[in-house]
Amino acid sequence: MRVHFKRSYDEDIRLFEDWRRMAKYAVLLAIMIALPALVSGYFLGEVTLVLIYCIAGMGLMVLAGHTGQISLGHAAFMAIGAFSNLWFMDQGMPFLIALPLSAIFTGVVGAIVALPILRLSGIYLAIATLALSIIVEDIAIIAEPYTGGVVGVFAPPIEFFGTMVDRYGTPNLFYWMCLALVVLVTLGYANLLRSATGRSFLAVRDSEVSARALGVNVTRTKALAFGLSCGVTGIAGALYAHFVQVVNYESFLVLLSINLLLLVVIGGLGSIHGAFFGAIVVGLLPQGLSILRDFLQGTVGLDISAYPGLDTMVFAVIIIGMVIYEPLGLYGFYMKVKTQWQLFPLARRDMFRRSKSYLKTERLR
């Protein structure tokens, strides 16, 4: 186990603990940039989808993982991001302007919606946001001039200074664009977490009462978290629209909201890594299962497609297992393994036993 001797406060504030860690992320980024040369077009498309899930996951992670406000309605904000982006582009705006605009628009809508909704907490908040997801589905049909009604809207091609970026025409460029956005959002997220604003989110999550006593405006902080979360989710929605090329009300069903929540829970609530781990699972698991299906049919001759619903069941089993055995998600599991490895052979099993929490003041809620 390495010990860091810090010589200035800046060493604590900076993003990377040391050059080793920075090198690790640099290598990862280099591999990601080089990926189009390494894998087939089909697989690249899947990875692009995972990247979009990463952005949506980070959006929800800010809210659910770091501010402790659950949302079962984030598909609604993906929808708002997608439809507003396509509408802005329809008005003749270039993508480079339409994307931030739609993010801001979604964020503002989110913050406004948050003010009444975030007076609720726990299960009631979950129900209210679930309702939001269902309402937006209907609005997507009713608001036909903006959303194309039942038919939906076709995504216009993206143009960057004369270069066309298209999911099918130029999959590599589309992939790099998504990757760049993932990097930008991740940097912003990491910056947030090392600042007073990020800490006020954590404070609201862990104890609203003492956050208030320390001068944190709880209502404003929650609305800001919701707004930021929705803004980022809106970016994911816009990218998703360009990824699938045509979106209608069916693109953002409640099921997607639930998938997003699963993403952050499986990945590990309360860490940026968790959003990535979760996105990989949620994004690749259906494909993984169908590859497994083909493999089984090809080798053993077992045709599992004869049993409908098996995919869903496997997915469900993974999630239930996750919640029971690894409540901190994949990232929690990763940290556990890493700590055990670093301390080898001195790690003890009960090191990771969850500590009991002391009684909290309930009266002031």
Binding site: G188, S200, V209, A213
Partner: protein, 254 residues
């Protein structure tokens, strides 16, 4: 002039008069303790001063400013910090992060600057770190700096909570039962720290406490409250020997 002055403060929850006409003045630089049996309304007085509760009537004036209608999240900025009876720390953060939240009111950067990590955010961070490190030194918390709260023993958490309140750089600190659940040794340490806060940091301390050894050791003045009403005010010895106080605690002789 008194730093905090509470006049005829009352809060009624339906028919329950939790606090009923309490008045007192806390002088700058003193340790003022409120004692009383369980349910006397001591913590409620704290919650009224923290502005968590809206008083039914009465007035709270801090440093010449009427704070009876100030929102709760502005209280820290004015210079009043507090701790809680049942420790209210941010369990899934480190000690350092907890203390940095204490310095929240000192920040100047907006959230946009924070997301982009502009120079003002960085200078905020450096200043907060420096201030917090001084408090860590002051309360001997260096060994726990990077530990998660969830793994810390109860006694340490009590100290961390005081440290977090100090990170607000308050002029008045409200301590809600600082010695509850502490061992005799830890209670003695607490007494020293309260003395230090008063002498070294020039703080005014308003405290609710049951442990009479701690109360007598540090308090300049003591107010006994029973069933929401003030009963006796004076030095620790005076209040403890007041027959009405003894009666309230032990009942009348048969």
């Amino acid at each position: 002039m008194s730093l905090l002055s509470v006049t005829d403060l009352a809060i009624h929850f339906g028919g329950v008069k939790a606090v009923d006409g309490v008045s007192f003045d806390v002088q700058a630089g003193e340790v003022f303790t409120i004692v009383g049996p369980n349910g006397a309304g001591k913590s409620t007085i704290f919650n009224l001063i923290s502005r968590f509760y809206q008083p039914t009537h009465g007035k709270i004036v801090f440093d010449g400013e009427d704070i009876t209608a100030t929102p709760a999240h502005h209280i820290a900025e004015l210079g009043i910090a507090r701790t809680f009876q049942n420790i209210e720390l941010f369990d899934h953060s480190t000690v350092l992060q907890n203390l940095l939240v204490g310095a929240h009111t000192k920040r100047k950067a907006t959230w946009v600057e924070d997301v982009l990590h502009l120079p003002r955010t960085r200078s905020n961070e450096r200043e907060a770190r420096r201030a917090v490190e001084e408090i860590i030194d002051f309360l001997d918390l260096a060994a726990y700096r990077d530990k998660m709260i969830a793994g810390l023993p109860y006694g340490v958490r009590k100290v961390v909570e005081i440290a977090r309140a100090l990170a607000c750089e308050p002029r008045l600190i409200l301590l809600d039962e600082p010695a509850s659940g502490l061992s005799v040794e830890e209670t003695n340490d607490m007494a020293f720290w309260i003395e230090d806060m008063k002498k070294d940091l020039g703080l005014t301390v308003l405290m609710v406490e049951h442990d009479m050894s701690l109360v007598s050791a540090v308090s300049d003045r003591v107010l006994a409250v029973v069933e929401g009403k003030p009963l006796a005010l004076g030095t620790s010895a005076e209040v403890q020997s007041d027959p009405r106080v003894i009666e309230a605690y032990l009942g009348t002789a048969a």
